[in-house]
Symmetry: C2
């Protein structure tokens, strides 16, 4: 029960009594601004970073401001803020002068938060090996795709650290799926936001199977900085597509296949594909729910190619992103703006 | 391109040529049964386990078949299948004769799959400590709730292993939120499936904030074994509720608060709450998207209470659940039923 309510500066202070058995009193301080906000408008207000969609030439011109020094990223919260903002705006950033050691990708992820463990492990290797059993370990071309879409919760962020890349070829390929979606006729956009595509992985004691709409849209529209409608997330991964589609009754399956083809075409148009050969000591961090990635063929007879990767969950990225925004933009006042009864660090209170 | 298509036994065999640059040919074997199935009907067919909603008395009578020996769970895939089926049907099972060592909860989780890491760590302690700074570490009553709803992707499974429980009191409380939802008038069910409630956690360098509908429903109805409509998942966690609601324009906020109150009342009705004092060497595994959990007060002056917990993602549980279903029910033929071009264990093929 509220014992007293006062307006102090820009805050409402409520003193509570006996609302939790055994705890006599505690105080809540709620900024007045917040009382007139829903979480969504709050999010827009404080984290209002619209996606900036890009084609290859446009991203290339932004490269100077999308490249960050590893040491600054680790030590300077202003740079961390620029990195998280860059990912939210462009979907992709690069780190340079990264130590060329095997475990450093965990530091890069850890600066943002807890690594997303999967059955691939905490981190994993993308290496060319001779007499490879699987196409991932060959030197062949691999088309644009996203990772782990056969899960209900694919990782939001992918990190790839380049340790070796001395072979001829092997350029990384990136395409902004928000751009491809924005360039589709409204009719196709609509079909791809309703019809679902199934993805699966069945192997070595695992059987993942999940279907997603190709374009995920919210109840209200999201637009890029140019005011063009873009989805909240994209789900496109031909290598793991299951041999069936899912369409609700009002979506024709043939039309779904046709619209998916148009989307594929758009995302693969040469002017939409950013081609970049990672150098040892470079690292790319990108939004796995937005950016399609792939690889050009390379000559594995001479030289080596070795990337080390890991994932972060969207939840983890968003949390850190808010905290650095508050500490940098609001100069430290942020994290204490909502003071609540403390339930501690134990997730379970059973 | 397809080079040849043949029907062999109950399968369609397709030989492909040149569809992947550099790989001349590979073969797909697709069961005919599967061609006439969508992933959803497939899921129903092969994993068709409807939820069985319960109240306290009903669950209590099922206890003999919901308790499994730890060693059998670890070593016998038939028992693992019964455990995963039990969780899908009842939302909750118990293990007995669990070694009373600190790290065994990781083995219990690992039998199903990769542990869900969170900022609480891989595993965490629920312990009573004197002069606790937080209410979680006190000996007080804690109401029914679910964990980590301030995330977009709360863990699907929670595991709690009891190491010590010698204090007076401290019974665990469980309530089937599907039952509470099924008992609501259709009007309230409808409001709770549309209106969203926000949850947050802002502390120690983290700021999680997410809103969910209280009752998550799919495009098609899910019913329990009695044919009553139940949600796909529930989101209810008063301790972490943010000080604002979210309702779309057609849901009145006052009505949302009122319907939420009715849901709370239903889930807390004494006949709906299963009360159980965990003994050292016992472990409870439950669906964190369905089962509400809580704790009665206990006397911490004498004795000790120590639970060790961890989480699993829904994706991980579902994958293992399918695999053991196939190996037990289909006697091993399952995992090879869909043979595909192998893309290996590396998640990324960049």
């Amino acid at each position: 029960m509220a014992k007293s309510v006062k307006i102090v500066n820009e805050n409402m202070e409520i003193e509570w009594s006996d609302d939790i058995p055994g705890i006599q009193s505690h105080k809540s301080t709620i900024p007045l601004e917040q009382l007139s906000s829903s979480p969504n408008s709050l999010r827009r207000l404080r984290e209002g970073q619209k996606p900036i969609t890009w084609n290859s030439g446009y991203l290339n011109r932004q490269m100077p401001k999308l490249r960050f020094d590893y040491n600054q990223y680790i030590n300077d919260s202003e740079i961390l803020h620029q990195v998280t903002s860059g990912i939210r705006a462009w979907g992709i950033v690069f780190l340079t002068s990264v130590p060329e050691t095997e475990d450093v990708v965990e530091n890069i992820a850890g600066r943002i938060g807890t690594v997303r463990m999967t059955f691939y492990g905490k981190t994993w290797n993308v290496k060319s090996v001779h007499e490879a059993k699987n196409v991932a370990y060959t030197d062949r071309y691999l088309g644009l795709h996203q990772d782990l879409l056969y899960m209900e919760n694919p990782p939001g962020i992918q990190i790839l650290h380049c340790l070796k890349n001395s072979c001829k070829g092997g350029h990384s390929l990136f395409s902004d799926a928000f751009r491809a979606a924005a360039q589709l006729p409204a009719h196709d956009f609509n079909i791809l936001s309703k019809g679902q595509v199934a993805y699966h992985y069945q192997k070595d004691g695992e059987h993942f199977l999940h279907s997603h709409p190709v374009l995920e849209v919210g109840s209200s529209d999201q637009t890029d900085t140019g005011g063009v409608r873009v989805p909240l997330a994209v789900n496109y991964s031909p290598p793991f597509q299951a041999p069936f589609f899912m369409a609700p009754r009002d979506v024709n399956k043939r039309k779904l296949v046709y619209s998916l083809g148009k989307f594929a075409q758009k995302s693969e148009e040469p002017q939409n594909v950013f081609k970049y050969k990672l150098r040892p000591g470079e690292c790319v961090i990108f939004n796995n729910r937005r950016i399609l990635h792939g690889r050009e063929a390379f000559e594995s007879q001479k030289g080596e190619r070795w990337l080390k990767g890991c994932y972060l969950d969207t939840d983890v990225f968003t949390s850190r992103s808010r905290v650095v925004y508050d500490s940098v933009v609001n100069m430290g006042e942020g994290p204490n703006r909502i003071r609540r009864m403390s339930y501690g660090r134990s997730a379970s209170v059973l």
